[in-house]
Symmetry: C2
Subunit: 438 residues, 2 copies
């Protein structure tokens, strides 16, 4: 008997029929002898509809009120799900983030979980009942105000509740079969990955893989929560995210059985997958005087504007001018405010001009095995060269190499690299890919 935390996203509970389908699955896991705690997102497009209502009222809603508004979404889905499970003869109770003991800081709209005190959840499972918890929301106990965790917050709620309860596994149910070696809409031969480490999953999530929210992976790594990403439309084993590579998971493992021997590490594959990201833009500060402190000043200004920068390239300064160009990438949405902040200090920094480029794409090759395998970068660059694709920026970590290309050659780049590293599926059949993952 295992203690399983299951998380279902909005697309899994989009309407009454989906809620009933998910309820059956939960009742099965419970009847199989598991203790089951379920974290659920708002139904389908509810959150967007509520945001739209707020936009009809005011362009700038107070964040505290926006959080109250949005948390209505999970209230609806969690109570319906509890009703549907009860209707199947399995007792279930739903709990808001506050009732479930999800304590956060006071940053409305993107609060961070600071503690989980799941005493009511524990009571509920001790009574043999299923506990349903609202994802995405918590409470700031200083003010007793409701907070939300931001996009992907339900994944984080699930992992945090799993950590707080010491659950055996946190199952993230989605509409794809797991984490893939690349986006199958771009690479039809992409394979499902059986296992990845937290570190690889972090790099994948940070590099554009959307199946699991980055913060939830960070939380899982910190508390060593085994995460099983799997489809709510099949019983197939998905992708297990853990600290080490263990035995291959049993493809027939029932819900709640991560099928892993955490101690039995086998050699890691060199490459886990190829991620891509089209959501970034590039700003180039042209003609910056190449004197000490100028780059620091530029990035002070950018940080003050609230932008999260990703990759940075500084050209070698041209000797005869003493001027250099500094380029960096950032989320496209942070572009306007960052450009404005830089424009405001042109007189101080005395650069020549600013360029904004939202036609870039980023490809990232990720794998814990690349640490001990030389030549991975060379092979990557050769594959892109052979495909006729120009590299504009490069950055690396211990287990990741990222390159920036033109946006319109990104798909070709992903296919070329996926193939060059032998990631293509060897099975004759096409991989079925059911959607975007969130």
């Amino acid at each position: 008997m295992a203690l399983v935390v299951q998380k279902y996203g909005g697309s899994s509970v989009a309407d009454a029929n989906s809620v009933k389908r998910v309820a059956k699955r939960i009742a099965e896991a419970k009847r199989a002898g598991n203790d089951v705690v379920v974290v659920v997102s708002a139904m389908g497009d509810t959150t967007d509809e509520l945001l739209d209502l707020a936009a009809q009222i005011t362009p700038l809603p107070p964040q505290r009120e926006l959080d109250i508004l949005l948390t209505a979404g999970e209230r609806i889905s969690m109570s319906l799900l509890a009703m549907a499970i009860t209707n199947l003869g399995v007792k279930a109770k739903s709990f808001t983030g506050q009732q479930a003991g999800v304590i956060t800081d006071a940053v409305h709209g993107r609060a961070r979980i600071v503690d989980v005190v799941p005493s009511r959840i524990r009571e509920t499972i001790e009574k043999g009942q299923v506990a349903i918890v609202a994802g995405f929301q918590g409470v700031n106990t200083d003010t007793n105000d409701v907070t939300t965790l931001g996009r992907g917050g339900s994944d984080t709620t699930a992992v945090a509740i799993a950590a707080g309860l010491g659950a055996d596994v946190c199952e993230i149910y989605t509409d794809v079969d797991g984490v893939f070696t690349a986006d199958p809409r771009i690479v039809p031969t992409a394979r499902k990955i059986d296992r990845v480490t937290y570190e690889e999953m972090l790099e994948l999530a940070a590099s554009g893989a959307k199946v699991l929210a980055l913060r939830s992976v960070e939380y899982a790594r910190r508390y060593a929560v085994p995460v099983h990403v799997r489809s709510s439309f099949s019983h197939a084993t998905g992708t297990l995210v853990t600290g080490t590579y263990g035995n291959p998971i049993d493809p027939n493992a029932p819900a709640g059985d991560p099928g892993t021997d955490k101690e039995a590490a086998v050699e890691a594959p060199i490459i886990s997958g190829v991620a891509h990201d089209r959501s970034e833009a590039k700003i180039t500060v042209v003609g910056v005087p190449d004197v000490p402190g100028m780059a620091a000043r530029i990035f002070e200004v950018v940080a003050a504007a609230g932008a999260n920068i990703d990759m940075i390239v500084q050209n070698v300064s041209a000797a005869h001018t003493g001027l250099t160009d500094i380029s960096f990438t950032l989320p496209e949405g942070d572009g306007p405010v960052t450009m404005a902040a830089l424009k405001a200090v042109q007189g101080e920094i005395r650069y020549e001009s600013l360029q904004f480029d939202d036609q870039i794409g980023k490809l990232s090759l990720i794998g814990a095995g690349m640490k001990s395998h030389p030549g991975v970068s060379a092979k990557l660059f050769a594959a892109l060269r052979d495909a006729g694709i120009n590299i504009e920026m490069i950055s690396t970590s211990e287990i990741r190499i990222s390159v920036v290309t033109r946006a319109d050659s990104l798909d070709d780049a992903v296919r070329a690299v996926h193939s060059a590293f032998g990631l293509d599926s060897t099975e004759g059949e096409a991989v079925v890919y059911a959607g975007t993952g969130r």
Copy 2:
């Protein structure tokens, strides 16, 4: 400067534009120098839509979960209203029933308020901000579970919050101009009543007037909260419900000014109004042995079935048979279960047969002045006789006379009585009546 509690129903906040319109009205009251606390219902049909969702899941949802589901409705309206007020430059914060300190018993679906601890509301108004409170909901502090108060619960929330804060007035905003001498859809010459006592309003509400929920009037009477029923579509003075008749209210009184001198009682009008009710049915137990205890036994059975009976008539027993008939009225919806319960004891009570009649109407004449004016009943019966209307049952209280007629002569009966007691408007113009009142 007054402390005003304003309550807006679902039709007043049916969409984003209505929310903005109500926000303007609240901001006006605040800017006029009042402390303002607002109680709001769920938007338009939200509650019915949520009930429909639940019905798609299961025919018998657990009440605890149904309460969680339904309270999502006020969460949406209250946060949107707070946003709209803030957008007008007036600071506003919204609070759930729990946050507002509305403590109830544990009876999900029709909880009763046992205490109001409005410390957060008080803090908010002391900061000069408008507090928005979710109507219809509370918290049972034993379990920390959310409860709902049942239909009309938002009126009760408003009066309870007003009592808890010691507010100067509780304004119930609706889509009609106040309480009328009769339903203007039936009696076009009906007049708005300027003032009624709690007792009269209780009788009016219990007799079918729908503008104010019965429980809220009971609460207002217990805590002596002046209630002002008025239209959210005009600035006209509505109907003031208080303990005594004071000076006439100033028709130009701004929001928040009940315009009353509570001590200055003038002579009460004999009749306040004519209420009618089509929602009851009549059960007749035919041929009951006229021996002691039989009536008691019948009403024990009816009470055990959960029916709220209203009027009772027992025929004089026919001497040669020793049998009598017992008739009583009850809410039509309670009919089937009550009939079944009575059927089950036919062998024990040995009555001859049961009759169910849902084609009845009830007319009630209400007025505190009738206590000291003899002849009111005689005048009522004469008016009905002159209009050719047969009376089937009669019941009276100190300030009310009710008669049961055929449903299809009820409208004529109301018009005849309204006219006989001189209630028709003497103004040349037709009274505009904007809707059904809730």
